[in-house]
Symmetry: C2
Subunit: 410 residues, 2 copies
């Protein structure tokens, strides 16, 4: 009988260099993509531990509000929908121009994934947009008598995402096969070279965990009295930026394994630290500043404790185009087709918009906030937050940036 290595092991062998050898039991919680090296051995494994496996550190889950309720993400994500719509034509153009279908065997199913899809209509719009571009590409350069490939679309988000709502709201006239993939996009999720297009809209700004130093009293990065980085000290900003950089390293590392040569990765991210300056007045940062100010007010009133304030940090980071470019280059497996920071025109303030912004933030953050501060203060917190947005004259407080990243697998 021949000895074997598991797929988990074989994929890892190619991904990580060995440094030391130790006979270990396979840990029960080992997961796909864990950076162990397993050498073939009859009825036993020799496992070479090479580094602290990134994906064995706890990856935090921040599910959007599920269902169809008043504060559900499905009902409070039209701003993200607007952002997807705003880059729609650009994404179509990039796919039509740059997707390298000549590299894909004609018999292949064409596989698309939306990473961090949540539940709601946006993911279906985004996927439909990609499908239309790919269909156009095949129409223009089709082979085999112009037969379109079959499409399989994977909807990915954390296991705690509301897949039930997602699956019961699938478009009835879709012309693709559907699958939901539970799990963090900071680990391997798909077989080798099995994806043709990866999209992710307003998801990768969520960092995989809050850096320990942010809640470490002895660290210069301790984020005391704050819940965010925009107006925090340099060490705090660095801790956020470093975590985002690590997350992008794992994101691109695993996507490089999953995406076929010639395939594409298209990312849309809110905000963006323009020119690397932390205090540039951008909408996303300002909203988190206002949320911070709301939480600080509740702490001052004694509704939440100082300790609870100090130990809460919003797990999002809005990178600059330069940071994204650096992450792609560190990885080395993708060519940069486009990295662009788009921004909206300034509009007149509309008082109704304050409640919309507030509900959108609630749909995305309520799980986190109520886990930390307790469900019972959510109404008070978001009422106060809405008032703060109203007082700020919402559209004068910053410009909404969208960072578009278009990559091709070499």
């Amino acid at each position: 009988m021949a000895s074997t290595a598991s797929p988990m092991a074989s994929q890892l062998r190619s991904s990580f260099a060995s440094s030391s050898t130790k006979r270990l039991a396979v840990p029960k919680h080992i997961n796909i993509g864990a950076p162990f090296r397993i050498s073939p051995a009859k009825r036993s494994f020799i496992i070479k531990a090479v580094q602290i496996p990134r994906e064995m550190e706890a990856i935090e889950e921040y599910p959007m509000n599920g269902g169809h309720g008043i504060y559900s993400y499905a009902k409070n994500s039209y701003r993200q929908g607007q952002a997807i719509n705003a880059v729609k034509e650009l994404i179509k153009e990039e796919i039509t121009e740059k997707l390298d279908i000549s590299k894909f065997p004609s018999s292949d199913t064409f596989r698309i994934v939306d990473m961090g899809c949540s539940a709601g209509p946006n993911t279906f719009f985004a996927v439909q947009n990609v499908l239309e571009a790919v269909e156009k590409k095949y129409q223009c350069e089709g082979r085999d008598h112009c037969r379109l490939p079959e499409f399989q679309v994977f909807f990915n988000d954390h296991s705690s995402n509301d897949f039930n709502t997602l699956f019961t709201s699938l478009p009835p006239n879709k012309n693709y096969y559907v699958a939901g993939v539970p799990g963090s996009f900071h680990v391997r999720l798909f077989p080798e070279a099995s994806l043709h297009i990866v999209i992710s809209s307003y998801a990768i700004q969520w960092i995989s965990r809050i850096p320990k130093e942010l809640v470490d009293k002895s660290s210069p990065a301790w984020n005391k009295g704050r819940t965010y980085y925009a107006h925090a000290g340099a060490e705090t900003i660095k801790a956020y930026a470093d975590q985002f950089a690590k997350d992008m390293d794992s994101f691109f590392h695993f996507r490089a394994q999953e995406v076929v040569p010639g395939g594409m990765v298209l990312l849309t991210i809110p905000g963006g630290r323009w020119d690397g300056s932390s205090d540039y007045q951008i909408l996303s940062n300002t909203l988190y500043d206002l949320l911070e100010s709301t939480i600080v007010d509740l702490a001052k009133k004694g509704i939440i404790s100082e300790e609870k304030l100090d130990s809460f940090n919003v797990p999002q980071y809005f990178p600059s185009p330069q940071e994204m470019e650096a992450a792609v280059k560190r990885n080395g497996c993708f060519s940069i087709e486009r990295i662009e920071c788009l921004h909206d025109e300034k509009k007149q303030a509309n008082p109704k918009e304050a409640r919309v912004f507030s509900s959108h933030m609630r749909a995305g953050l309520e799980f986190l906030l109520s886990e930390h501060f307790g469900h019972e203060i959510m109404d008070e917190l978001f009422d106060l937050f809405t008032k703060k947005i109203e007082e700020c004259e919402v559209f004068d407080m910053g410009v909404a940036f969208k960072l578009l990243v278009v990559l091709k697998r070499k």
Copy 2:
């Protein structure tokens, strides 16, 4: 620009013969697998309607109880688990002996699906069993220096299945990539030739819809005063059997498209109309007889109306080995490797088992029953049902049959 046919259309073109031509708008509710024929035409489609599309008839959904509550399927499916365990070695043996891995390109991801997986541990046991057999097969006949393929496992059930519970209870040490596929197995669910093994345990006995004649007062198959077929008239039994036969035709039709040559389909079904006789004393039928008797008693008491009784029918059918064999042969795409009816040894009655049987039936049928009769009578209904099982001396009322069907794609 070249003209194109959608994947939906191209798959259909190969599946159905054309009979008449009519220019139609594409219906909005058209779904993958709908039997239209689309001819290439510039900027428009000519659609040839060929027959009433089977999958555009309503397919009914009967979700098991979700979550982890007292009557959840996850907590009330150990009998199905025992059945899976009972055929475990047989299934391993069949895969090890008959799976034709020489036909699969060595670079392929090995794809397995559990159809009708529900939520709970059984699906993971069943999948693990298959994986172990496939790994053994590759160990014995491996190529490419015995490298195992990567495994991707699809968990399929209706959209209304509790995928959230399924995804949050995935085994932590799995060595496969996971995806959930929502949708009825009576339609196309996967791209062409993309699956290597299809398993289904205790699922395909659910018929896709209640035949209309069962609730049609003018039909000889009208199932008045009854909710099941075991002791009903010949026309009623025929209506059930015909629906099951139609369902198997669509099941095998679509699986034939999805499974690669050399791939396998392994089905386990409870009960079984042994020798085609409807009144053979088998456990599954007897349980449904007792449930029927419970519902009839509630109607006699005036708790439910006569109309409600007459319009309810349990959507399950337990086929004989001969019926399964006939369905496979009608399809023609699979070779029959094994069709076998296994039965348990008779055991001593155990009063505790009555409540177990009752809870298992509740986990599987509560959705249906409460939709039809109202949630408020469920406790009373199942209390009465439990008493009826106790009075019957449960293990004397019939033998639990398991029908095992093992097929290989030609």
